[in-house]
């Protein structure tokens, strides 16, 4: 049992949370906002607290849409899962409802505290949480049937605390010692080792060549134009010029993702195109499919409910790229189901 192993190896912090001894920080919220939320949880449930203090995150955390890709894993209901970089648990909770046990790992204790409260609200007892750095936590050799890496691989090369709002500016210039790809591969090797023989990995990430990136939509990680698809050296130069640090949030094409997984030891992977993105998927189609029956997935209205010219142009571009040109290579996001 994973729970026994956690009890042997780590200190229990509170509830279902275990602590490796090394806490980090990665959050869309700054520390003060997180504190406010955690305090609110003493007298209200998680949904009320998020609605009251951070309503813009409500769907990000609670929407059932978030987990639309998990069925690609063809779950039997008896699996033991690990969710790397689980944050507030959009997928942890979804896995817990479908499977036998889930271990959520994240470096940000504040996020885990919210998730812990949420598990209580939902009456889910089959989840444990581990606070620690994904690159540093010990091995759970052959222990898991399912691993989930949802929007996390591109952050693996980063180090040190990150408050996302500040990360979009010129702050916190750090030393980067090894190549982003090297770090991503060694992380995936660990993920591979932790899976059992029949284990499967669910990996979701933006496509380096997402058609929107060519049309002036900023890279969602560095918040810079064109960095994702430029040659790595050019992206480094551009990021250095504007942010004073190299570009490390490396994304990949469909083919590159396959070779990355192979390099990490996975025997094979099924690739899927994800529209309009992997976070709130509307449509997920096998990469080998012919895109017949494609419908545009970008919503006409923005988060404020307004119809904008930008949105209209986005829909036209999406229609042209996928309905007419069938340009699969430029699909917005990639989901890979990889086999041990």
């Amino acid at each position: 049992m994973i729970r026994d192993e956690l009890n042997n190896l780590y200190q229990n912090a509170s509830g279902h949370i275990y602590f490796t001894g090394s806490e980090g920080y990665w959050s869309n919220l700054d520390k003060k906002e997180n504190q406010e939320l955690i305090q609110a949880l003493q007298h209200m449930d998680t949904k009320e607290a998020i609605k009251k203090y951070q309503a813009w995150l409500f769907d990000m955390i609670f929407s059932p849409k978030r987990s639309g890709g998990l069925e690609l894993l063809d779950l039997s209901g008896d699996e033991s899962c690990i969710d790397y970089g689980c944050m507030w648990g959009a997928l942890t909770v979804a896995l817990a409802k479908r499977c036998k046990h889930v271990l959520g790992v994240d470096q940000t204790m504040d996020s885990l505290k919210l998730l812990n409260a949420r598990l209580k609200d939902e009456g889910l007892e089959n989840v444990d949480l581990l606070c620690g750095n994904l690159k540093e936590i010990g091995y759970f050799e052959n222990k898991f049937d399912i691993a989930v890496i949802n929007g996390v691989l591109e952050w693996i090369p980063e180090n040190g605390p990150i408050e996302l709002k500040k990360y979009y500016g010129k702050y916190n210039v750090k030393k980067y010692t090894s190549s982003p790809r090297g770090q991503q591969v060694s992380f995936l090797e660990k993920v591979h080792r932790n899976l059992n023989d029949k284990g499967k990995l669910y990996l979701a990430i933006e496509n380096r060549y997402d058609f929107k990136m060519f049309l002036g939509i900023k890279d969602p990680h560095a918040n810079l134009l064109f960095t994702s698809f430029l040659p790595r050296k050019a992206a480094d130069w551009l990021s250095g010029l504007i942010l004073g640090r190299p570009y490390v949030n490396w994304l990949y094409s469909f083919n590159d993702i396959k070779s990355l997984l192979k390099q990490a030891g996975f025997s094979g992977a099924d690739l899927y195109m994800c529209f309009p993105d992997y976070r709130f998927p509307e449509r997920i189609m096998p990469y080998g499919s012919s895109l017949n029956g494609f419908r545009t997935s970008i919503s006409l209205r923005n988060s404020k409910g307004q119809v904008t010219i930008k949105r209209r142009l986005g829909i036209i571009a999406e229609y042209a790229a996928f309905k007419i040109l069938k340009a699969k290579y430029f699909a917005p996001s990639i989901v890979a189901i990889a086999y041990k």
């Binding site: 929407s63 059932p64 849409k65 987990s67 639309g68 890709g69 069925e71 690609l72 063809d74 039997s76 209901g77 979804a94 409802k97 479908r98 939902e122 889910l124 099924d270 709130f280 998927p281 509307e282 449509r283 997920i284 189609m285 096998p286 080998g288 499919s289």
Partner: protein, 253 residues
């Protein structure tokens, strides 16, 4: 291979997948992990069960069954029904043949119980009809109730939804479109006498029925009105369309 076809669209909480198990074996899988979504899937299973009893399909086995059930999660499987579908956005005129097929199908199979005691599909739109080897087949039973609606509600809803998707609030319906609506209302009324309000002001009746009975659809009415396009007709439009349909009905009488 598996493909995500729809994911919690129009505010519902169900994900729909197409599973291709090799050869020509295809099936639809629907999953939900919230109380509202799970309830919709239970209705879907109940709806198919009811529909298959009154309208036996080629296959003798159940079309829809539960494949996985947990405390907070439900997964159901539906046999893939091959056939053609029409685009409801093309409106009444281009789809009038298919519309009549559906109305005839409804008249043939749908039992009439007194008052509001007839079965409700709850989302009968041209999108949810397949024309296959066995003729018209109605799919997507997520809002099924074995009783709760006046007889004729579902096809009447389909007529006005198809009209709305074509004209919205921007143009007046053409006389042909009004003719198709009125013709089908007469057809329904010839099978079983419709409630008088459904003849006098059909669109107003539909709008009021949905609003007064929104619990039949769960939370979708209050939070996601676009699930019911006809609710977007302005009150003036509702009255003017009703007037046109009624005068056509009187002319036909």
């Amino acid at each position: 291979m598996i493909e995500l076809l729809r994911n919690c669209s129009n505010g519902n909480e169900v994900s729909t997948y197409l599973v291709d198990a090799g050869g020509s074996v295809r099936k639809i899988v629907k999953t939900a992990a919230t109380p509202i979504g799970v309830n919709n899937l239970r209705r879907e299973v109940e709806g198919w069960d009811w529909y298959q009893k009154i309208r036996p399909l080629e296959t003798g086995e159940p079309i829809c069954r539960i494949v996985q059930e947990k405390k907070h999660y439900l997964k159901i499987e539906i046999k893939f029904i091959d056939g053609t579908r029409v685009d409801c956005r093309k409106g009444l005129e281009k789809n009038h043949k298919m519309i009549r097929e559906v109305v005839e199908h409804y008249c043939e199979i749908w039992p009439r119980h007194p008052d509001n005691g007839s079965p409700l599909h709850g989302d009968l739109s041209l999108d949810n009809v397949i024309y296959g080897a066995d003729g018209v087949c109605i799919i997507d039973w997520e809002h099924f109730h074995e009783e709760g609606a006046p007889w004729g509600f579902d096809p009447l809803y389909m007529l006005f939804e198809t009209l709305f998707l074509r004209i919205r609030n921007s143009r007046q319906p053409s006389s042909k479109e009004i003719g198709i609506v009125a013709g089908n209302i007469v057809f329904l009324n010839n099978r079983y006498k419709l409630q008088s309000q459904m003849m006098d002001r059909p669109l107003r009746f539909l709008v009021d029925f949905i609003i007064d009975n929104h619990t039949l659809w769960g939370r979708e009415l209050t939070l996601f009105r676009n699930k019911f396009p006809i609710l977007a007709f302005t009150p003036d439009r509702v009255s003017s369309i009703d007037k046109m349909v009624c005068s056509e009905l009187r002319a036909r009488a």
